[in-house]
Symmetry: C2
Subunit: 227 residues, 2 copies
Amino acid sequence: MSKSFTCCSLLCLLFAFHGFSQEQKWDSTYRPDIYPSKVAMFRSFEHSKKDIVFLGNSITFWGEWAELLRSKHIKNRGIPGDMTFGVLERLDEVIDGQPAKVFILIGINDIARGVPDSIILSNYERMIERIKTGSPRTKIFFQTMLPTNSSFNKLTTHYHKEEHIKQVNEGLKKMAAVQRIGLIDLYAVFADVDGSLIKNLTFDGVHLTKEGYYKWVALLKQGNYIP
Amino acid sequence: MSKSFTCCSLLCLLFAFHGFSQEQKWDSTYRPDIYPSKVAMFRSFEHSKKDIVFLGNSITFWGEWAELLRSKHIKNRGIPGDMTFGVLERLDEVIDGQPAKVFILIGINDIARGVPDSIILSNYERMIERIKTGSPRTKIFFQTMLPTNSSFNKLTTHYHKEEHIKQVNEGLKKMAAVQRIGLIDLYAVFADVDGSLIKNLTFDGVHLTKEGYYKWVALLKQGNYIP
């Protein structure tokens, strides 16, 4: 009994250590300089039940959502370099605010860093679970990951990950259906015939131009996700 | 007569070429990737005569001004890496909007790139002239340049430029008095006894933490610059 207990403890420790070392590799942002300050600012702001939160990485961050959608209720909660781990870490700020809606686009930095698709999807599961529990009136919308375009030759770690992007997007669609949450298929309208991000919608193959943001806005309005 | 005319023309050409080559060196942003797209977005947005514009570089950009000041009229027109040349280039967007107020903080990237203090100040003069002419009802506020703090050892091209910062700030104060425009002395409240940016107000010796932005906000409210 004591022997098997020790053996079991050792195994647990091994797993814990394995998990820990993996997280150490994955859970840090590309921008440790600005991250804590940005999150601290978010936490300091007034929240409203009318808030519409755009949550994600640099792709969300670079959009002036309040101006694009002409609403003071829109809150930009994008942070450059963020990953699913980062979103989970700061999700309490969103949940505490009890927003009306939250639009999530995250994962390309996870993929660029080699986080397995299954881990990204399980992080998405955790997001749903925590928002549903902590802020049950909040409507959750997933947005499928955008394709990339390697012809810009700039963000090389983000390119040529088509299979992963498709895999995660398929997982998101299934999850959204099962969990009965909103799903906005950005990928479908941002990909060209070859599955690359349409050239005039991006300036580096990952981030969006003005045309890209307005295409996104049109999709949100078309689906009546935003009045 | 003809000879002196040719000589004069040649001299003019020489000066023009000299000016041009200098501008070629100076007038480009640190972020040519995002700059055109960002400016195009600004130009596409709805403007209002109630707008309060925060115009500048990354220091302005990273502040969530609409949330910090709890007003939908606040427009963030900061672009990372921008310089006085860039602000002049895109000033028409601000002027066309005929905003109520414009708060300008720009120059540290010019200094980091070796633009002479006199050129920076003359660019400021051009800003005033153009805003006063194109949007006479707009109240202009200069904000003195922040000190830097070299102990962070990150943005090395921006450090150890104290003399230039002080020189430009003195120039700005005089210009503001002569031109009868507002002057908010950020430097005075952000510098420690040694003339460095107070340590807990920055995360890299140039950009501000949450505490930094709230200090700035307090100053704006204290002086009744923003209701």
